[in-house]
Assembly symmetry: C2
Amino acid sequence: MDINTRLIRAREEMAKRNLDAFIVLTSDPHGSEYTADHWKFREYLSGFNGSAGTLLVMQQYVGLWTDSRYYIQAEKQLRGTPIELFREGQPGVPDYVSYITYILPSGSRVGVDGRTISQVEYQRISEILDKYNIRLEIHHVDFIDNVFYQRPPMPTDELTEVNPIVACTTRREKIDIVRKMMNEKKVSHYIISALDDIAWLINLRGSDVEYNPVFYAYMVISPEEEHLYIDPHKLSRVVSNRLAEDGIKMSLYDHFINNLRNLPKESTVYYDPTKVSALAVAQLPNSVVRVEGRSLVGEIKSHKTEAEIANIRSVHIRDGVAMVQLLNWIEKEVASGNRITELDIAEKQRLLRMAQPRSMCESFAPIVAVDANAALVHYSPSIETNTALTSDSILLIDSGGHYADGTTDITRTIALGEISAEFKRAYTYVLKSHIALASAVFPKGAYGIQLDAVARQPMWKAGLNFGHGTGHGVGYCLNVHETPYGIRSSFTDSRFDEGILVSDEPGVYIEGKFGIRIENLIFSQPMPETPFGKFIKFETITLCPIDTRPIDVDLLTEEERLWLNDYHKTVYARLAPKLNGDDLDWLQNATREI
Amino acid sequence: MDINTRLIRAREEMAKRNLDAFIVLTSDPHGSEYTADHWKFREYLSGFNGSAGTLLVMQQYVGLWTDSRYYIQAEKQLRGTPIELFREGQPGVPDYVSYITYILPSGSRVGVDGRTISQVEYQRISEILDKYNIRLEIHHVDFIDNVFYQRPPMPTDELTEVNPIVACTTRREKIDIVRKMMNEKKVSHYIISALDDIAWLINLRGSDVEYNPVFYAYMVISPEEEHLYIDPHKLSRVVSNRLAEDGIKMSLYDHFINNLRNLPKESTVYYDPTKVSALAVAQLPNSVVRVEGRSLVGEIKSHKTEAEIANIRSVHIRDGVAMVQLLNWIEKEVASGNRITELDIAEKQRLLRMAQPRSMCESFAPIVAVDANAALVHYSPSIETNTALTSDSILLIDSGGHYADGTTDITRTIALGEISAEFKRAYTYVLKSHIALASAVFPKGAYGIQLDAVARQPMWKAGLNFGHGTGHGVGYCLNVHETPYGIRSSFTDSRFDEGILVSDEPGVYIEGKFGIRIENLIFSQPMPETPFGKFIKFETITLCPIDTRPIDVDLLTEEERLWLNDYHKTVYARLAPKLNGDDLDWLQNATREI
């Protein structure tokens, strides 16, 4: 069925409901970054399969909004369809909500699937459209089903229990911590819908979506019980019994929405409006008190325990070993004149990681990008774009793995041959910014935007900058992008604390030439308290040499040079015992003092 | 009449109106930092005359909320009254709005003078109280008049016109710029109530409040006219004629509120809800479209023109000369064994500034603080606290002047005798933070909170910090604290641009020992554009040596040392031609390379 036919069916459904427009978002009912195929309705209806984008269907007109990462891909995939591409962020391009207000007259009705829109986004858009007397309506269930021909079913794969030694804390202990927070907030009920929150809380892992070891489920914690809404096919008898033993009540996934309607009238219900769907919130009886706030589980889980961080440190030795083996292999291949491509390197890396104890899978689609390909920040090699290394290439590798006892995310940029002055300067400033964050000290409670500025200051002084965040939270054998902690140039209300694992990944991208990014994971640690309060610093967790060949040592301060030498000393000390042969020689050479 | 009697009268007025509580704020109807005596009702009712504080009067109970700057003063001034002191910011101390929700039952009625509360604050408090079914009502005119015995009248002092050469831009030109912005925002009317906005826009200056050369007035710009609401006694015939020639319509100050009710029904009215009173907004006909946003005049006036900044640079030569004369005088007096006190120094400084061409008055109450006095951030010397210098004192001087062609604000900390290791370390880190901001580079559009983090990073690394902002906007022969630009640890939505004049004033305060602050004014300037966008740096405007004796040079980076030497070279070059005798010798010595 071609895109035109699919759009016709969508318009028929719209006409039945008297809708002048329908908004098709990218997420699932849990606010996930990666979704199961069942929820890929925007892709079905437009043919565009980027990870971000919004389709706006009207009777005479369709538009797709996406950001700069996907301009080229969207152009290509929309060719031959009636869908117009709106390049978000380009000057003069309205966002889709403004566009609706420009094009639809007062009194119009706009639909959206209430499951795929978070409560906070629903409120934001409704408020804007209200001003123009345009109504935003939640339409669900039948709409997508009626249009989505041969819609893939929800995944039914079985879950695995996290090994108790790895979990560090039992599900009962975790639930008790959550209940304590609920008591402090004086709420009777707590709706949990973020998939990684649920996986972490009840120590289960799944494979319902790519890269994130999570599974589709909801939880509601009430005064009497913890209620898990899940497809029972996902639970083996053993797991099901264990959950029951731990006092967890189980119901069908599909009963979640209906059961919300039956919450006791005098309940006080807590939920995170960025994670819970507008449809779920709309089910709550009018009489219940709604308390919106950040995910309580998210708050607890982003603070890694001593036991968790000990495992994470150990994972990074294994991951570092695989990285050293990879980087040594690449250099040997290039030196031998063998032709290797981006895809070869990605596959080699996957195999090296898989050979490490307790490794499970990749934590995201790896970026292996040669020269100009690396200037596209979210490039992933494909058969069409696959490029071979040359002896003068600059290579950027951004990859990570899930291990049973932790998740990794690392980027290295290496120069294989002669180094241009332009690359050298940019590389050195990326390193300076990386070190600025890694060695930052800040008061407990500092905002991510403050740390972001500290990281970027060296680069700004050289007139350089980059268009992505400097750091994101990282899960514990869970999502490689974990909310709420982040280090970005935009303000968010999460205040840094000790025990937070984030990435440190400044970059510089020169279109048509190269891309540079240096990424380690860093972990926030308390410093001795002073009369001026509690201060926090970072410990670098990732263990892998940073290429020193492209560094312009004259541009480094003495402190920066010492930081790098110190880091390399640690890398050598931790990895050397696990390496031998020419891998060990390579490590020794790569960690030499500068 | 004692405080008890005053409170009884206030309670009688509350009873007449069936109010369970009355909130007495500190501001005037224009959101001013300094107010005329006419508006000092909180001081009248409580006896507490600090610049910040809120009084909550109930039938059985009165509380005063103020911040750490005023704990000691408030304790003293409230002694013998029935008023309880609430120390804002202390753990466990509720703010006054929460306190109302704790103590008053559902259905209660709370009053506030609608002129002394901004629209944004009124909305914030109403929303909180609404949740507890407590009503916030705007009570005005009679309430304060009936209670405030011998209330001082509104000031009637005559205004002066700003010299056209100093003004740089005529009032008609300024109004045309505002009208252009109004057109872009598609608004028909614009209400201006911030006093410095009006003074700047129509090139007049007054003396209605201390330190800020402003006057009480409102303006409304409508499609047909610019309407100035002002007491006609303030306008000489000449000024009145000039305004009329420029097409400005004048009405009585007191007619402003009534005239708002008569705005055309289909108007679109723009106002800054942080500057316009809730009473004013409440007058607007229901049918008009309200557009809230930041002051348009504030936006224009905070961007200093080339001509303005040229004048400001010239003012800083004169101010620097007065500073050098002062610092030399202090050292000579101490060396001669003469007893000089904080008040002596403040008076000497005032006289030296007044002796400079085009000087007008001080731009705020000067802080001259010896040793432990300087640890109180907002200390001002008084007869009771006045302290004499000793040959080992540390002295902090924070002062500024209004000149016909610009406003200054400078802080220097000087060590007169032996220097302790503790002071030396803290002083050097304050200097490092000062330099970090002065030499910062950042993309156009960066937030103040980002610059604040860049400034504090060196200090944080040493476990030091301070509890005030790092920088505030400074007016052009106007308020020394000018909104909206600021450099603070809290997020505000003003994005830095070129042409902004702010202070750079990090500090460190050790209770019972000393206080350190180093403050210059800095001016944001564009850098050559790079492929990564537009970047901005600062030019230091203030010209006065920074005491080098307490610097631990080993703690400075090479860049920091060079910055300081470079700054002192500039200071010498600009000030030396205006100095002679031992002042010149002192300057030469004070600006020697380190």
